[in-house]
């Protein structure tokens, strides 16, 4: 019986590749991340959060749930949260434009005053008060949930 033998050239190429594997240099597969990425991810998070809340509010408005007061409040809460995300996004962007020298610290190093030279500085000061939007949004959601508990939910059970 005749047995076919592998070609010597192919054998040699295989051997070279095997040797190459043991002499591999850095592949640069893992990319290191610098400090600005954190804020970018956070800003992308705000965008996604804002879009999610906007979508949530629109879906409620378009569904039959919108006739209920509880869901109207939920949609309002979601809309305010959308606005808060926009607000917070702007606040983060503005914070990066205020130089550290504009802040005056106390003896302990805590920032106590800010020098408002330009309109951007003023906007930064105003946009830092994001709780003025965030708290009413959560309040609306709380009122919505409380109202849901007081009325029949969209249910499969016979009431």
């Amino acid at each position: 019986m005749r047995v076919s033998r592998p070609i010597p050239l192919l054998q040699a190429m295989g051997l070279i590749l095997l040797v190459q594997l043991f002499c591999a240099g850095p592949a640069h597969a893992i990319q290191s991340h610098g400090p600005p990425e954190g804020i970018y991810v956070h800003l992308i998070g705000h965008v996604l959060y804002g879009l999610a809340m906007l979508g949530f509010a629109i879906r409620i408005r378009l569904s039959h749930l919108s006739v209920r007061k509880s869901w109207q409040l939920m949609a309002l809460g979601a809309l305010i949260l959308t606005a808060w995300n926009v607000w917070a996004f702007i606040a983060h962007v503005l914070a990066n434009h205020i130089p550290a020298t504009d802040f005056i610290t106390n003896k302990q190093g805590v920032r106590m005053w800010v020098a408002l030279h330009t309109p951007v500085d003023w906007l930064y000061y105003i946009f830092k008060m994001d709780h003025l939007l965030c708290v009413p949004a959560i309040l609306c959601i709380y009122l919505a949930l409380r109202r849901m508990n007081g009325t029949p939910l969209m249910s499969l059970k016979k009431r």
Binding site: G38, V41, H42, G45, H46, L48, Y49, L51, A52, M53, G55, F56, R59, S63, L65, F103, I104, Q108, G109, V110, R111, M112, W113, V114, A115, L116, H117, Y125, K128, M129, D130, H131, L132, C134, V135, I138, L139, I141, Y142, L145, R146, M148, N149, L153, M154, S155, L156, K157
Partner: protein, 369 residues
């Protein structure tokens, strides 16, 4: 111009506290809602979403509190190390909220589908119950009528014989005393028998007359609706074409519905997936017509000529009383039923019931010379 940052800090601390309190209250409400109906997809979803919002409302204010505590206790360097972790956690909560919200649309779709299906099941169940009630009522009427007729028939004859004999006895005066004694006894018995007969006759005549003015369009529509779900399951399309105007006739809606459903079920049984059944009502010169046309396999001529004969059936396990009963019901309504079929090309059942208008016209024709 220099502005103090204290108002910002105050708003931040007060806002963070408010958020913390409100988020705890939200969570409490969401858990309460979930516990009220654990099987409800919507309440389960609300719990998920509120939990995601709660995690955001918890981590963010806590981060702010820690920040202010460390800053005002001269540990700013520690805060510089913690800040990226706090920020990252807040970002993670954003993504969790975003992901939770993505399911809202699908969840609404599922809920709507489930509610629609439940309504359908409830509707079918109620129709079945109604139909069952009708059938029970029909069976009860029939049983009562048959019982009354049978008993009346069996008792009436002996009563007549006894009465006749007694009359003869009273005519013969030979043994007067004995005759009188016998006569009194027999008369007493006959009185009892007559009373029984009368009671049974009253039972029969006491049955409620369910005849009333009914709209054939509505009756047919209801019957088609009942078997619609069954047809959908089998993949048979059923369509109803009502007459443009109401077709009023006098009859018993329950009996007619039973008859109509029997014919429709026969059509359904004979058809297979992809076939269609067409039901139409219209005014014809002789009355209101209901036509059921199916494009099933049809009826062979040798079966068709015996189709209304009692106990004749080609189906296994069938009593062969269905169509004879249907014909009896139609005849009791002074109507007619015909079945036409070309084997292999479907079947057409036509029921004609007299309407008020036709009765009037018939009456006029009969009275005219």
């Amino acid at each position: 111009m220099l502005l103090s940052l204290i108002p910002l800090y105050l708003i931040d601390i007060c806002g963070s506290m408010a958020m913390l309190v409100l988020s705890i209250l939200c969570m409490q409400q969401a858990v309460k809602l979930y516990l009220r109906d654990r099987e409800n997809a919507l309440s389960t979803y609300i719990l998920w979403l509120t939990s995601a919002l709660f995690s955001f409302c918890l981590i963010r204010p806590l981060g702010h509190f820690v920040k202010y505590y460390l800053l005002f206790t001269h540990h700013a360097t520690i805060w510089q190390k913690i800040a990226p972790i706090s920020g990252s956690l807040i970002t993670v909560t954003f993504i969790v909220i975003f992901a939770s919200t993505l399911f809202f649309g699908s969840m609404l779709l599922i809920m709507n589908r489930m509610i629609r299906d439940r309504k359908k099941v409830e509707e079918t169940s109620s129709q079945l119950l109604e139909l069952n009630k009708d059938i029970e009522s029909v069976v009860s009427d029939r049983t009562r009528a048959e019982l009354a007729l049978q008993l009346a028939h069996e008792i009436r004859n002996p009563v007549m014989v006894i009465s006749g004999l007694l009359h003869r006895m009273t005519c013969r005066q030979e043994d007067r005393e004995r005759n009188i004694r016998y006569r009194d006894t027999v008369l007493g018995q006959t009185t009892k028998l007559e009373a029984i007969v009368n009671r049974f006759e009253e039972l029969q005549s006491g049955g409620e007359d369910h005849f009333s003015a009914i709209d054939i369009n509505e009756l047919t529509k209801d019957s088609v609706k009942i078997i619609q779900a069954e047809a959908e399951i089998k993949g048979i399309s059923i369509s109803f074409f009502p007459a443009a105007k109401p077709l009023f006739c006098r009859g018993d809606a329950r009996y007619l519905k039973v008859a109509l459903l029997h014919i429709l079920r026969n059509a359904l049984e004979s058809c297979s997936a992809g076939d269609s059944i067409r039901v139409e009502t219209k005014q014809v010169p002789t009355g209101a017509s209901i036509t059921i046309i199916d494009d099933g396999p049809g009826i062979p001529p040798e079966v068709l000529e015996h189709i209304f004969e009692p106990f004749y059936s080609t189906k296994e396990g069938s009593t062969g009383l269905g169509l004879p009963y249907v014909r009896q019901i139609i005849r009791e309504h002074r109507g007619e039923i015909t079945i036409e079929s070309t084997f292999g090309q479907g079947c057409t059942v036509t029921i004609i019931l007299p309407t008020h208008l036709c009765e009037l016209q018939r009456g006029r024709k009969a009275s005219s010379p």
